[in-house]
């Protein structure tokens, strides 16, 4: 077991109950998608996992220990973090962005350089072309690839992704999603991925956790959910990708 969250709760200072008793586990190498509409508490849940937001109730175990046993910074250096809108440091080159966490951990220069080059190749960028560029000189898809490389810099067991592919055009998003799945298979890290896009969850997650108003309404594999939504809300979330898939099928049949 890589991660387990038990009765995770967050009540903000203004009294809003954003997350209300959420429990789940993530096995080694597994990809869990948390899905729900805006304001359902999915991003708050994700940020509690690496203590960007401190929970007001419940507990989180990571790699066999309670996360509160570590300093928050030390915890975050062990967990990869990819955020919406890439979050790259605009004043640092691609190589410097990827090297941030290794430098915080005090790696020597040769080890950092080798690691940076390997990661640039792994996310399908070119060392020769992209290593010394600044984020502003890259496309949106390239920036998100650098963000994933940065999150993987210290070979974490767990990656957290907050709407990581949300801001990209559909073609780029598709390429990045399949590359991400391939990378996960190759490197074997576990991932928790927050998204509001059911199609994305169905395509790249091993398991899906559906949240509504701060609570878990359904957990299951993509196949489980498609066979038995078990809840009107989950049904609604599945309706759109299903309709789209059927419409495309009909169009293709009509042309044939």
């Amino acid at each position: 077991m890589t991660l387990s969250a038990d009765a995770l709760t967050k009540r903000f200072a203004d009294g809003t109950l954003a997350v209300d008793g959420v429990s789940f586990t993530v096995a080694a190498g597994e990809c869990l998608a948390i899905i729900g509409e805006s304001g359902c508490g999915k991003t708050t849940t994700l940020k509690m996992l690496n203590r960007l937001i401190e929970p007001t109730g419940g507990s989180i175990a990571f790699a066999g220990g309670n996360v509160t046993a570590l300093r928050p910074e030390a915890l975050r250096r062990r967990i990869g973090w990819v955020m919406q809108g890439d979050g790259l440091f605009p004043h640092m080159t691609v190589a410097e962005n990827i090297a941030v966490t290794p430098r915080l951990l005090g790696w020597d220069k040769a080890r950092i350089d080798a690691r940076v080059d390997a990661l640039i190749e792994q996310v399908r960028l070119s060392v020769a072309e992209h290593r010394g560029r600044y984020p502003a000189q890259l496309s949106g898809g390239q920036r998100q690839r650098v963000a994933i490389a940065r999150a993987l810099s210290v070979e974490p067991e767990l990656l957290l992704l907050d709407e990581a592919f949300g801001a990209l055009d559909p073609l780029t998003r598709g390429a990045l999603q399949s590359d991400f799945t391939a990378l996960r298979r190759e490197l074997g890290f576990a991932a928790v991925l927050v998204t509001h896009d059911m199609a994305e969850a169905l395509l790249i997650a091993d398991r899906i956790l559906v949240m509504k108003s701060g609570r878990v309404v359904r957990t299951g594999t993509p196949a489980d959910l498609l066979q038995d939504p078990g809840d009107a809300y989950v049904e609604d979330l599945l309706a759109m990708p299903r309709q789209q898939a059927r419409a495309i099928e009909r169009l293709e049949a009509g042309h044939a």
Binding site: E73, R76, R77, M83, P90, H91, V100, L104, R150
Partner: protein, 518 residues
């Protein structure tokens, strides 16, 4: 003209060096205060409001007033300290404001990314937020630099040596070569410092060496400029008695600091006192261009040992007396009050008075039949005068006594008022009765039958510390009652009309009043 330029160039090491010392120390301390304060304020919004509010309020105080206010706040200290503090306060706002704005302008996504990659708050500040805010902070630093270089020229009236010495002296003696020279040097300095900072920033951002070297080279040259006064040995000394408790005797080999306010007569008298004291073997230093009340504060605190003031000024401005008094009565009461209240020794009268008087053109007076101040009553005349005059009691009292309510006042620098009167831009001015231009421009001083305008006898005042050394008073007593008004007027005219330097006029005056009495 070439003489004037030569003289200006000769003073350059001292003036530029003094200016650089003020600017560099003011800037460094501004940064040391403003950047940490800005970082705190950017992180704490409840702090940001008051901090920026206070800094902005300081900025709205006119720079000359802020400089002058520092003198009484520091208990009468003049010179580097009050100027340095005022310039530092002045430099804080642009740096502080830009630090806050720059840090608050960092994208929240980037700040969260810094936390998400495992940076501590301090690491986030140093590696992400400050580098991203740096261009904005540097822009604030450049603004502060240009402001401080300009404002430092106003440090002259509080007794700090700066490029303002050219401007203030040149303005008072109508020596435009010197004024323009001072302005050009100050502008050049602002430009060079601004470029040095720009190049250093460019080098830091682009990680290039060439601009870094250029920036460092400019900074090094400027720092050497700041060290000039140390090399040439013109660093400021305190007064003769400062910090020494024992009664001293003798004057030979001692350093005496002479003060002077910022107008021609004061420059000449300071140079005359200097000559007399040097004859007695003293080392003399002159602090010119002091503001009117600043000179008195500096004397009281022992920053200067001696200067010449005027009975009416002390009476109205320092003693804050509303009522008038006769010439001798005023002197005796003033001397007693100064000795009792402040320990200041009023050595005695130089023999002339430099009073305020209403001067008009002779032809205009004859055509309009005007002989006394009261004859101006009921006419819509324009009266020019130095700004100090119109806040003094003699203006309000003469206005009320002679019915001058319809008069339109036009405050202006005293340098320009005689020319304005001659050219018909004003009809009367609050003239200084010893000014050489009164006879040269064919002006007449109107009678004051009600004796509203008080006497302004020139008197030598000696600081409490220096008064313990009888040799100083003894040496200067050669000047008592030695200078008739006509002689002083001629010395002033040499400078204001004939283009002589104050030193040359003082040499002539020395020949007239000291040598002839020997």
């Amino acid at each position: 003209m070439p003489d004037r330029l030569d003289e200006a160039v000769a003073s350059l090491p001292a003036y530029l060096g003094g200016h650089m010392q003020l600017v560099l120390s003011g800037l460094v301390v501004s940064v040391l205060i403003a950047v940490p304060l800005g970082i705190l304020a950017a992180r704490n919004r409840t702090l940001a409001g008051p901090v920026l509010g206070i800094a902005s309020t300081l900025q709205t105080i006119p720079s000359l007033a802020l400089l002058a206010l520092m003198v009484p706040i520091l208990g009468g200290r003049i010179g580097f300290a009050p100027a340095f503090i005022a310039l530092t306060l002045y430099g804080i706002l642009p740096i502080l404001r830009n630090t806050v704005v720059g840090l608050q302008g960092v994208d929240p996504v980037v700040r969260e990314a810094a936390r998400g990659t495992g940076m501590t708050p301090l690491q986030s500040l140093r590696q992400v937020e400050l580098p991203l805010a740096l261009p904005t902070i540097i822009a604030g630093l450049r603004t502060a630099t240009v402001w401080i270089v300009g404002t430092a020229t106003l440090a002259t009236p509080v007794g700090a040596t700066s490029l303002g010495n050219y401007i203030f002296s040149g303005l008072q003696t109508r020596d435009w070569t010197t004024v323009v020279f001072g302005c050009l040097i100050a502008a050049g300095l602002a430009f060079l410092l601004d470029q040095a900072i720009r190049l250093a920033e460019l080098a830091a951002r682009e990680r290039k060496r060439a601009p870094a070297f250029a920036g460092i080279a400019i900074a090094a040259v400027l720092a050497m400029g700041a060290a000039l006064p140390l090399v040439t040995g013109t660093s400021a000394a305190r007064g003769i008695g400062a910090g020494e408790g024992e009664v001293m005797a003798g004057i030979e080999g001692r350093t005496v600091v002479i003060g002077a306010k910022g107008f021609t007569e004061q420059y000449i008298l300071a140079a005359l006192l200097e000559r007399v004291l040097e004859d007695a073997g003293a080392d003399v230093e002159v602090r010119e261009n002091l503001g009117s009340t600043i000179a008195f504060d500096a004397l009281r605190s022992g920053e200067i040992d001696v200067y010449v003031d005027y009975t009416g000024t002390i009476w109205a401005t320092v003693m804050e007396r509303e009522e008038g008094a006769g010439r001798y009565d005023m002197f005796v009461r003033m001397a007693g009050w100064l000795r009792e209240e402040h320990g200041i020794l009023a050595l005695g009268r130089l023999g002339f008075e430099n009073a305020y008087g209403y001067a008009v053109r002779r032809d205009w007076a004859e055509v309009n039949g005007i002989a006394t101040i009261g004859d101006l009553s009921g006419r819509s005349v324009r009266v020019g005068g130095d700004p100090e005059f119109f806040v003094r009691a003699e203006w309000t009292r003469s206005r009320d006594a002679y019915g001058l309510q319809d008069v339109r006042t036009r405050p202006m620098d005293s340098t320009f008022m005689y020319g304005a009167l001659r050219d018909g831009e004003v009809d009367a001015v609050s003239a200084y009765t010893t000014d050489g231009r009164i006879s040269d421009y064919d002006l007449v001083v109107l009678d004051d039958p009600l004796q509203i305008l008080p006497p302004y006898d020139a008197v030598m005042l000696i600081s409490p510390d220096a008064a313990r050394n009888p040799a100083l008073a003894g040496t200067l007593s050669v000047l008592l009652n030695a200078i008739p008004a006509e002689t002083m007027r001629r010395a002033n005219a040499m400078v204001d009309l004939d283009g002589a330097t104050p030193g040359e006029a003082a040499a002539w005056l020395y020949g007239e009043v000291v040598v002839s009495t020997d």
